[in-house]
């Protein structure tokens, strides 16, 4: 009983170490290709549209409603102390430093990260990646790098949209539902929100973009096991990306702010 438990534990540890090692090597190889080969501009722009423009609606909605909920919730607390003018700064700081980047990262992971894995995974199982190699085409340069660059560039833009929508959503609730004056909401934001809060959030979202694209391409690139394998890889891609984004968020917050 004990031996089999230790055996299973060892096997699990080995699997994790192998996966982490392979993922690290994949990332390093991608970086090497990024700096040693020509970037496909048109493919990168197409990916920016695929990852970014097509994610605009969900980022707009999640950002807006998160800001609205924040305003409602913070009103409950601040109203007791007569400190309603802090609702604006709370919403703005939360959206710029945390919720904007993190929610954008998670939502884009769910929409575009899964699509990246499914697309590359399908190409793997239908031998399209092998076909690229036999044609002398660097599959990293063709498939991985454009998605990485596009994701790193577009996530900060989406994150900015989320921040603006969140603050605007909070404004709408504060003024039209909670009956605060527009000055009460905005004056605090002008006083307490600093430019570094916004840039810090944008840096974070660039890192989240790198994570979701790297995990998405990695899981897709090593997909096996037919259609079922593509499904498993896609699920794993979303789960792993989300977890890494949340963990990375802690360290980035500690480092950046």
């Amino acid at each position: 009983m004990l031996i089999s438990f230790i055996d299973a534990l060892g096997a699990a540890a080995l699997t994790i170490c192998t996966d982490v090692g392979n993922f690290t090597l994949f990332g390093l190889h991608a970086l090497r290709i990024l700096f040693t080969t020509r970037l496909g501009i048109s493919k990168t722009i197409a990916q920016m549209e695929h990852i970014g423009v097509n994610s605009f609606n969900i980022v707009f909605l999640t950002g807006s409603f998160t800001g609205m909920v924040l305003a409602l919730q913070s009103y409950t607390g601040f109203h007791r102390f007569g400190a309603e003018e802090f609702i604006g700064p709370i919403v703005a700081l939360s959206m710029t430093r945390e919720l904007g980047p993190v929610l954008t990262g998670l939502m884009v992971t769910g929409r575009a990260g899964s699509a990246i894995t499914a697309e590359i995974g399908t190409m793997r199982i239908s031998e399209q990646i092998d076909a690229l190699r036999t044609l002398g085409i660097n599959s990293f340069q063709y498939l991985v790098i454009p998605r990485l660059i596009a994701s790193v560039l577009i996530l900060p833009c989406l994150s900015l949209v989320s921040m603006i929508c969140g603050i605007a959503g909070g404004f709408f609730i504060a003024v039209h539902v909670l009956k605060l004056s527009p000055e009460q909401y905005t004056s605090g934001i002008a006083s307490y929100l600093q430019f570094s809060d916004i840039t810090g959030g944008l840096y974070k979202s660039a890192v989240f973009g790198f994570i979701l694209a790297l995990v998405g391409t990695y899981k897709g690139y090593f997909t096996s096991g037919g259609a079922k394998g593509v499904g498993i890889a896609t699920t794993q891609s979303v789960v792993i990306s989300s977890i890494i984004i949340l963990i990375a968020n802690y360290f980035l917050t500690a480092f950046l702010f």
């Binding site: 239908s126 076909a131 002398g136």
Partner: protein, 256 residues
């Protein structure tokens, strides 16, 4: 010349190639036959370098490709054509982009490639109306012909490898594909290797090799194959249940 020396490869705890030796004649059409799950596709992928053997040497023009780095391997690929079993066309690209993908990626403007792509499509009996169609709009036979046209875009080919080119096709389309392969071989005089278990292909090839249990059990000229007394090929081409090739193979069909 392509020479495989003592090539061994283990997949899923079984030896797919087990000390395999084979010399593929230059400028000839060689067919590798064998039962399903014997590892014919693995062997073909070892020859081109998509799968690296665990041990042994694969010598192409005096170079052991098993020892090449991934980067050098890309240059090796530039002298080989590989026609995949299900064509492996890129779903997101139309026929023109699929056929010209290697040249487009090399930086040649698409406009300059149009005539060449049309010429290659004509060679594989496809009309210009297919240029803007996507793989999902093509039949299985058409996809394979587009795959062949994509391979023929390479002007520096030393060898073409065909992985079961007639799988899933009706007898008439299979014959058309066989004749097309023979026509391409005749026109370009390129060393060609075909994986198949369709014995109709023997009419078109120069040599036949039989793969069984990870080794080449027979290698000989196609025109004399029906007179061969090699027990393996004798049983295989006649489809006899009794003989050295056991009916119950110890492993399930695996496709890599």
């Amino acid at each position: 010349m392509i020479e495989l020396i003592d090539v061994r490869k283990k997949l899923d705890s079984r030896w797919v190639t087990d000390g395999l030796n084979l010399t593929i004649p230059v400028g000839k059409l060689t067919c590798i036959v064998g039962r399903s799950g014997e590892g014919k596709s693995v062997l073909l992928k070892e020859i081109i370098g998509l799968i690296r053997p665990d041990s042994g040497s694969i010598i192409v023009d005096g170079v052991d490709i098993n020892k090449l780095s991934d980067h050098r391997m890309l240059y090796h690929f530039k002298h080989f054509g590989y026609v995949f079993q299900f064509a492996a066309l890129l779903d997101s690209l139309n026929v023109f982009e699929n056929v010209a993908i290697a040249q487009i990626e090399a930086g040649i403007p698409a406009k300059k490639l149009l005539d060449k792509v049309r010429q290659k499509l004509s060679l594989v009996n496809l009309g210009h109306e297919t240029l803007h169609k996507f793989p999902s709009q093509l039949s299985g036979g058409m996809r394979k012909r587009v795959g062949l046209a994509r391979t023929l875009m390479n002007e520096n080919l030393k060898a073409i490898l065909y992985d079961e080119p007639t799988t899933g096709l009706d007898p008439i389309t299979s014959r058309v594909i066989h004749e097309l392969i023979a026509q391409v071989h005749k026109e370009f005089n390129i060393t060609s290797v075909i994986i198949s278990h369709d014995i109709e292909i023997f009419k078109y090839v120069d040599y036949v090799a039989l793969l069984h249990e990870g080794k080449i059990k027979f290698f000989g000229e196609a025109k004399t194959i029906w007179e061969s007394d090699n027990p393996y090929i004798y049983q295989f081409i006649r489809g006899l249940p009794l003989g050295p090739i056991q009916h119950e193979i110890a492993y399930e069909e695996t496709k890599v």
